[in-house]
Symmetry: C2
Subunit: 350 residues, 2 copies
Amino acid sequence: MIRSVLVLGTGLIGTSIALALREHGVRVLLSDVDEESMWLARNLGAGEPWRSGERVDLAVLGVPPQVVGEVLAGLQKEDAARVYTDVASVKAMPVAQARAHGCDMTSFVPGHPMAGRERSGPAAARRDLFLGRPWAICPTSQTAPEALDLVRHLAALCGGKIMELGADEHDAAVALVSHVPHITAAAVAARLAEAPEGALGLAGQGVRDVTRIAGGDPGLWTGILAGNTRPVADVLDALCADLAEAARALRAGETVTDLLRRGVRGRSRIPGKHGGPAKPYTVVQVVIEDIPGELARLFQAAGEARVNIEDVVLEHSPGLPVGVAELSVRPEEAAVLAEALRAHGWHVPK
Amino acid sequence: MIRSVLVLGTGLIGTSIALALREHGVRVLLSDVDEESMWLARNLGAGEPWRSGERVDLAVLGVPPQVVGEVLAGLQKEDAARVYTDVASVKAMPVAQARAHGCDMTSFVPGHPMAGRERSGPAAARRDLFLGRPWAICPTSQTAPEALDLVRHLAALCGGKIMELGADEHDAAVALVSHVPHITAAAVAARLAEAPEGALGLAGQGVRDVTRIAGGDPGLWTGILAGNTRPVADVLDALCADLAEAARALRAGETVTDLLRRGVRGRSRIPGKHGGPAKPYTVVQVVIEDIPGELARLFQAAGEARVNIEDVVLEHSPGLPVGVAELSVRPEEAAVLAEALRAHGWHVPK
């Protein structure tokens, strides 16, 4: 049972956890060195200020990975909680630093709730931030079973999907699925920083998608990458080898089909919506005008036809006040939707 | 004036051009060695079969870049048209091959309409495929002004946004904004092909976006890349240098902030919706249930509040029947929309 929780660090993750716990009637105490952040978190209804000396069931350390060990040692010294967890985006470094600071490792359960937001700070917090998203828990060989249970319970209260794995395994995984994709998107976008103006005029949706995350905060990402240097560098080496080989092959008049095929295979392994394997959806395209209410009428028509739209992408039409909406639906519903939209006067290309 | 056009090659691009021209009353004649493709294009209403000997105003070569020169030489030999253009995705190679085949260069205007679709074949054709999209025209020093005017007129009839630039300039540009992003997305995705199953469970929206285009047809892309080897290899070299330096810096305990900052700068140069500079939109998030009609009601409410939604992204919530819709609106309309949605009972996180 979790009756009381100390959230130390009222950033995006800490405040969101606090909001989720309050929904379940948990007493939440807050602490942050940043007064403005504290004020905002309190006014969002995240909890009350923690007074040093008050003992809680669980302390959640929402602090940068570099200081988890030090902060944990301080809290344990004053016996602030029965169990401790953290939310840092890398796991081997905080574990190593906790050991280096002589922390009690039986009551420490390293964790990493995946929030999937580029924004930061308590203003971006949401009590539903973790709903259905992976929440990695990385117990060490010394972690006590009762401590592990309590942190599992925390993740469940927040609606997260618990994934247990080792700290090194975790760090290698996030290097692959998050850190290297980010730095690669930045490198592709960096090429555009020096490109002639005319070249940018030929940009389409592909390069927009590839570089979207490159717009993220460089300061935040510098810190994230600094906490996972070796796994990121290892994946970067392998990636560079593939790209250098592709450049060599192209110059030699050879094909790069093998790399492209491996790309298709890797892409198909990313889980689809709702955690299952990627489902085959059919895309129905419809030409829409760029006026208020146009999408409303379109979705209204889809709803009346009892077709559920699984995903929607608006294709931009540079220079013109029309666009194409791509609606993903179950294959058996595509014809129904197309007919319904045509009946309402929309242009649905066959 | 364009009264008659021969479309040679009834693939996605050729058939879409034919459909667009028919809208304007142009007589369109079709030719393709693939009988099924011809049959489909005719049944889509793209035009009638071309009989060798019938002369047209303009011939559009919808054939792979490797054979543009050879096909052009054959057509010119039988005086099939006054003016010729092609639609290949690279431009230096077809120009060089046209010269090598001794073609008349005054009547040839190399072109590249950017369609921005991953699908291919006449079944995916749309008469509005080029609406507002870039249509590159790459005249050589020998191109006759009347020939250039006719191809400009073709692009205008199809609704394309004409961009004139040299063939080498064009190929360097598409290497930057299309070919290298594609091969890089494939390389990032290829890393996932070998990843342990658990790692994929930590995948979020970022890696989904970066690798989306890696799902494209390897055969098609092998051909595209083979036609632009040097420009692609040059950009890949520069990209590899940045990524290798990042790996070195991380191992040495140095930061990669500079690369991340250049990425932000490059990303900001990609033109926004409607061709203008990227506009700052505000994102309003709303929690929605995964049921038919839910998005309809949401857009209905937005339309009633007279707020135009500029873009919409559905965030997937693996494992749960709820999702978050991110609605991009003009900053001054965000509060209006949020209030309207709350008034209808939606949960809009502050």
